[in-house]
């Protein structure tokens, strides 16, 4: 699915006084079908706000957001979100959480079971299937959130720093897993991260945002083909890109 983000302006009312804060200042970009589009930027610049807008949870003050030329006017199952706060349901087990999205589709019980087992394996939580989120570590919760979002096989997935609290090994493995899933399902993915390595390894394009009120400072083409092997992380070109993004980002922090 193609996503267009056209001249978006968004501000929020501040609760205590009558001020407003301008968060997004005339932001435009386009994400092509099956592209992985990474957003990097300083904390508080409005990355989560962009996700919320695209998911249809909130609406822009000015500008238009469209998916395949249809205006976004609310949330929908074609656009799942992996939230920064993971947002998995505390009253459901790991299995129950992953199952949730599948329950809305007309699938047989056994089909649902197979899908869930497969996903549990991918995120390495088979032995925790019947535990409640309270009993999991933050990293495990994030993996559940990711499995839950991928279970529904939507055409677009928004991921808001999904791997932020994982150790770097698990993070690397899940990044590779994410790329594999994406090759299989051809989803369009918007991926927010603070980690430049992660953005380069996953992204087709990387948008660098300025501090608030945010603009898109530049959009960098990564240029690696997919599937990607883990070894690209050691190539000189990878470091070159990383340096370039870091320089661009540094002025904003």
């Amino acid at each position: 699915m193609k996503i267009e983000f056209k001249n978006i302006i968004k501000s929020f009312a501040v609760k205590n006084n009558h001020d407003i804060i301008n968060v997004l200042d005339d932001i435009s970009f386009e994400v092509k079908n099956s592209e992985i589009f990474c957003l990097v930027g300083p904390s508080g610049c409005g990355k989560s706000t962009i996700i919320n807008l695209m998911a249809g949870f909130i609406f822009p003050d000015k500008g238009e957001i469209s998916m395949d030329n249809k205006l976004v006017n609310g949330p929908g199952p074609q656009r799942t979100v992996v939230f920064q706060e993971h947002a998995i349901f505390p009253w459901k087990t790991v299995r129950g959480n992953i199952e949730f999205g599948l329950k809305c589709k007309n699938l047989s019980k056994s089909k649902i079971n197979d899908e869930v087992n497969c996903l549990l394996k991918k995120v390495k939580l088979e032995s925790f299937a019947d535990r409640y989120p309270d009993e999991l570590s933050v990293g495990m919760k994030q993996r559940v959130a990711m499995a839950r979002a991928f279970a529904v096989k939507s055409e677009v997935v928004f991921m808001d720093e999904p791997f932020a609290s994982l150790d770097s090994q698990t993070r690397d493995i899940l990044q590779e897993e994410l790329l594999n899933i994406q090759i299989e399902l051809k989803q369009t993915i918007i991926f927010v991260t603070h980690n430049i390595d992660e953005a380069i390894f996953l992204g087709d394009k990387i948008a660098v945002m300025s501090h608030r009120p945010a603009k898109i400072k530049e959009i960098i083409q990564v240029g690696y083909e997919r599937p990607r092997s883990a070894s690209i992380r050691n190539q000189p070109y990878f470091f070159e890109l990383k340096n370039k993004i870091w320089l661009s980002l540094r002025d904003e922090i």
Binding site: G76, P77, I88, F100, Y132, S154
Partner: protein, 251 residues
């Protein structure tokens, strides 16, 4: 072993209480006409258990409170869910609820008897008046305090309206609903006794009242302790159900 120690720790003070009472009675400090000694009360209790009347009184009270409680729960939970989901319904219903809430169930007794006569029906009505409010308020609170992020998650995963209610809204509110049910059952048990004291021909409330008029004080006290014990057991039952139905909170 550890568990037995815990039980002993609870029982010991109670035993102590009864011993002091018994000794004070034997020393003649407590007048048995006003407060009979525990031994006499226990004898009375054993004696009463063999009579049909006492057993019927117990089952009548329990039956009344359970029926009234179930009716009030259905209304309270149902209305609470609707109000939690639709702000405009809440805005309309709440002033009416707040108007009736401060009226204690006891104040309804005259109307209850006028409308429903004597027996079960006024008791059901009075129990409803006591039980509905805590259940309604807690359910509303639980439903309306669902975190926005869970709603967003459900919608973006394509939840149907029905799935949203059964798998998100209600389970998330269950701890609140149970808090309301527990309070409600406690209130209901109090109200049924009062209702029976004034408007029934059976039940523990009636039994206490009857024995008062014939100055059968040991029977009065047996009735009181029975009420206390049943109330205690009912609360334990609710806690048990709570643990079964809300495993994510109590594991």
């Amino acid at each position: 072993m550890f568990k037995m120690l815990k039980v002993l720790k609870t029982i010991l003070p109670i035993l102590f209480f009864f011993c002091v009472w018994q000794i004070l009675s034997m020393m003649g400090i407590l007048n048995p006409r006003f407060l009979p000694p525990p031994i006499e009360i226990i004898q009375k209790f054993v004696e009463l258990l063999t009579t049909d009347d006492f057993v019927i009184d117990i089952t009548q009270s329990i039956k009344r409170v359970l029926i009234g409680f179930v009716i009030a729960s259905l209304f309270g939970i149902g209305l609470g869910i609707f109000c939690g989901m639709y702000k405009f319904i809440y805005n309309f219903i709440n002033p009416i609820v707040e108007m009736f809430r401060p009226i204690p169930p006891i104040a309804w007794i005259p109307l209850a008897i006028l409308w429903f006569g004597l027996g079960d029906n006024p008791a059901f009505f009075l129990i409803f008046c006591g039980v509905f409010f805590p259940i309604f308020t807690n359910t509303y609170l639980g439903i309306s305090s669902l975190d926005e992020i869970y709603k967003r998650a459900a919608w973006s995963l394509g939840a149907s309206r029905r799935l949203f209610i059964t798998d998100v809204l209600v389970p998330s509110a269950l701890p609140y609903i149970f808090a309301g049910l527990k309070i409600g059952l406690g209130v209901g048990w109090m109200v049924v006794i009062i209702a029976e004291m004034v408007g029934a021909q059976s039940g523990l409330g009636y039994m206490i009242q009857l024995n008062r008029t014939i100055l059968e004080i040991p029977s009065v006290i047996v009735g009181m302790f029975t009420i206390g014990c049943i109330g205690f057991v009912m609360n334990k039952f609710m806690t048990f159900f709570e643990h079964v139905l809300i495993p994510w909170k109590y594991n």
